[in-house]
């Protein structure tokens, strides 16, 4: 099993004739079992094809052409047009929207998220690379060309959630090399406001029978990590989590932003030191180095296994 997408997922690409979109369309078609990209949208380009995917002027036309509801959309239009494209997708009944575009002002992102919430849709991103279910499907540029993605991602029990697209692949590759495959890896985006945070994806991973542990990549800025810590405490710590925290040097440089727009330290809770303390207080393991993650995860997994066995043992004794 996986979260968010599987081999039956249908999606469209908005802005499909753009340079990056043409590449990611190819990559998604080639990867795993081959994505079902049922159409693309670029206003004024109806009638064209991109790698065999028919292009339309509006999302409404793609839905009509497909003849049944479409699950998702990858949005790769310029920042000034993104809100309109996302509104269009949501109003056409699409429930999963991956926004690749970066440099979208927060006001626009908040509007997209608010409408999505009203309509029961979910947004991943903006400023993200999308979602990958190893050997099955990828939705977005995550992992790059099919051949490269196959080299880094392998199927298995670990869910990956990352604020950096590139680091999603780096961490998954490290896990794969250590024999720990991934159930689903999600690049959630590097902006200050994003559609789906760690804590908002955790219930999905917790409900997924394949997922046994979680790895997150995190950075300075925002209180997403604090929110995750609160979620873990409130929900009885259903899955072991190992976090990696980058950008520790930024604690000495308040007001500066490196890496992603969302890394700017605006509040007291935003520093890496503060985040690490909160994560650890909630029982989340924080890795100093990426290569330490597989071992830490294995240890946590076997600890849980032991305590589950012990619990099963004691309950048997009790009934006897």
């Amino acid at each position: 099993m996986s979260i968010l997408i599987d081999e039956r997922t249908t999606f469209i690409v908005q802005g499909i004739t753009g340079r990056e979109a043409v590449n990611l369309t190819r990559e998604c078609l080639d990867y795993g079992k081959g994505a079902q990209i049922v159409g693309g949208v670029t206003p004024g380009r109806r009638g064209r094809e991109v790698h065999g995917v028919p292009v339309f002027d509006t999302v409404e036309q793609v839905v009509a052409h497909h003849g049944s509801p479409i699950d998702g959309s990858v949005v790769t239009v310029p920042p000034a047009f993104t809100r309109d494209a996302v509104f269009e997708a949501i109003e056409a009944g699409i429930k999963l929207i991956v926004i690749v575009t970066e440099r979208i002002p927060r006001g626009d992102v908040a509007q997209m998220v608010e409408l999505a919430t009203l309509r029961g849709a979910r947004i991943i991103g903006p400023n993200c690379l999308g979602i990958i279910v190893p050997d099955v499907i990828k939705m977005g540029g995550i992992g790059g060309p099919a051949r490269n993605a196959a080299q880094a991602y392998t199927p298995g029990p670990i869910g990956v959630i990352s604020r950096s697209g590139g680091m999603t692949t780096e961490m998954s590759s490290t896990l794969s090399a250590a024999g720990l495959g991934q159930s689903t890896a999600v690049s959630i985006g590097g902006d200050a406001i994003i559609g789906s945070t760690y804590a908002e994806l955790m219930p999905l991973f917790a409900a997924d029978p394949q997922t046994e542990g979680i790895v997150i990549y995190s950075e300075p800025g925002g209180r997403m990590e604090a929110q995750l810590a609160e979620w873990v405490v409130a929900n009885g710590d259903p899955l072991p989590i190992v976090a990696f925290m980058a950008g520790r040097f930024m604690d000495e440089m308040p007001g500066m932003s490196f890496g992603h727009a969302g890394t700017i330290v605006e509040g007291k809770e935003d520093t890496t030191a503060e985040k690490i303390a909160r994560l650890q207080a909630a029982g989340i393991a924080v890795a100093e180095r990426i290569e330490d993650i597989p071992e830490m995860l294995r240890e946590l997994l076997s600890q849980r296994q032991r305590s589950a066995l012990a619990a099963a043992g004691s309950s048997t004794e009790g009934s006897a």
Binding site: N23, A80, R103, I104, P105, R106, G107, A110, Q111, V113, E114, L115, G141, G143, G144, P145, N148, A149, A152, S162, R163, S164, G165, G166, M167, T169, E170, S173, T174, A177, G190, A192, I193, T197, Y217, E219, G222, M224, Q227, F244, A246, G247, R248, F249, M250, M253, P254, G255, M256, F258, G259, H260, A261, T263, E266, K268, E288, R289, I290, E291
Partner: protein, 407 residues
């Protein structure tokens, strides 16, 4: 990007919120003229983008235009927090009965703006929230529904304020929220908001920050405020090295070689991708390395651009070697970056094998990239060597070289 107080107050005024009859002066003579026009006691405030103006002596009171001129002269020459003032703000000294706080900020968790109000103003709102939480009202507002007075009313009422004050502050808070959304602010704060003896309210100071990503579409506002489009107003001014970095990035539209930031070490970094750069910079420092710079390569830059960045870093005084490292790439190409950094060495008359301490970029086109690195005898690694280990090797090499030199 932060606004100076005089700009923030102008934004408040445009939103229809009452402000004092302030003026902005760049010279002592201008300050005197404004004081004369105001015709009474005034406050002279340094216009710098740093806190602690009061403590540093950047805020002074004057009873006459002559005194205003003298204070302006002193303040204009006063450096505060490493910044020289842009000018001074000359403000009528108001008789204030009570100071309040009104603000709007983003809540990243709820993904909505939040209005904040308190009858305790003039001090840091975080302090009020910690010490007198019942005196702070908060309320989230929609970004897609029209802004309505009731939201402001609820926020103010939640802070325990009622009566004539409540009804008079409602339009002020609503307008503050409107300007926050209309102008893509990340912070819009009136602190203090003063109640005058006649019962009216006036903004006595304002803090505004606009989102960098929205500067393009807020061009008109910025133009009218006289903000130079090239001003970054980062926490620290860009150095010539950083400006040269921006020039390299804008020299060619393909890919990114950006966010070049100067540090004072001896190991030049040609590092990449947002998250990868953060991870690598930490790793270099964790191993005792002294980075000469931070940067982010991404989006598949041209050979020329990669070379331009590497040359810039290699030419920085104090840089002994460079480390070329990225997290696994899928869009940026290993071979193109390899060509770029080697070309930079050759064009500067260096042996690439000597100058490139370590190269670790796995991923797209790595087979071709590794052939190039082999040909020039450069020490490199594939993905089996972690980012951390790559950083360690780079640091070890530069420190090893220094130890030899000492011997």
């Amino acid at each position: 990007m932060r606004f100076f107080e005089y700009e923030a107050r102008e934004i408040v005024r445009r939103a229809g919120i009452p402000v004092t009859d302030f003026g902005f002066a760049k010279t002592p003579a201008e300050a005197r003229e404004i004081a004369q026009r105001i015709g009474g006691p005034v406050v002279i405030k340094s216009q710098v983008l740093s806190g602690g103006r009061m403590k540093a002596g950047g805020v002074r009171f004057a009873d006459s235009p002559e005194e205003a001129e003298a204070h302006a002269q002193a303040i204009l020459a006063l450096e505060i927090g490493g910044h020289m003032p842009r000018g001074v703000l000359v403000d009528p000294k108001a008789e204030v009965e009570q100071e309040y706080y009104a603000g709007v900020v983003w809540d990243g968790t709820r993904k909505l703006p939040v209005m904040i109000f308190s009858p305790v103003g003039g001090i840091d709102i975080e302090q009020v929230a910690a010490e007198q939480p019942e005196q702070v009202g908060r309320r989230h507002i929609s970004t897609i529904l029209p802004l309505s007075d009731f939201a402001a009313k609820e926020t103010i009422a939640r802070a325990g304020v009622s009566g004539g004050e409540l009804t008079k502050i409602v339009p002020i808070l609503r307008r503050l929220a409107e300007l926050f959304l209309r102008y893509d602010m990340t912070l819009a704060e009136i602190n203090p908001l003063g109640r005058l003896p006649d019962g009216s309210f006036v903004a006595l100071d304002a803090h505004m920050e606009i989102e960098n990503e929205a500067r393009g579409r807020q061009r008109e506002l910025l133009l009218e405020l006289g903000v130079d489009p090239t001003e970054t107003r980062q926490a620290r001014e860009a150095t010539p090295f950083e400006i040269a970095g921006e020039e390299v990035d804008s020299s060619d539209h393909r890919g990114v070689a950006g966010n070049v930031t100067e540090f004072d070490g001896n190991l030049g970094l040609v590092i990449g991708a947002g998250g990868g750069s953060l991870t690598l910079f930490d790793a270099v420092r964790a191993h005792g390395g002294r980075p000469a710079n931070y940067c982010e390569i991404g989006g598949n830059p041209s050979v020329r651009k990669a070379a331009g960045l590497a040359k810039l870093v290699l030419s920085k005084p104090g840089v002994e070697r460079i480390a070329v490292m990225m997290s696994i790439v899928s869009n940026t190409r290993v071979d193109i970056v390899a060509r770029g950094v080697i070309k930079a060495c050759l064009e500067l008359g260096y042996d690439p094998a000597e100058k490139i301490a370590f190269f670790r970029i796995p991923g797209a086109w790595e087979e071709e990239g590794f052939k190039i690195l082999q040909k020039y005898g450069i020490d490199y690694a594939d993905r089996s060597v972690s980012l951390n280990e790559a950083a360690r090797r780079a640091v070890e090499k530069i420190q090893g070289a220094n130890e030899e030199a000492v011997r």
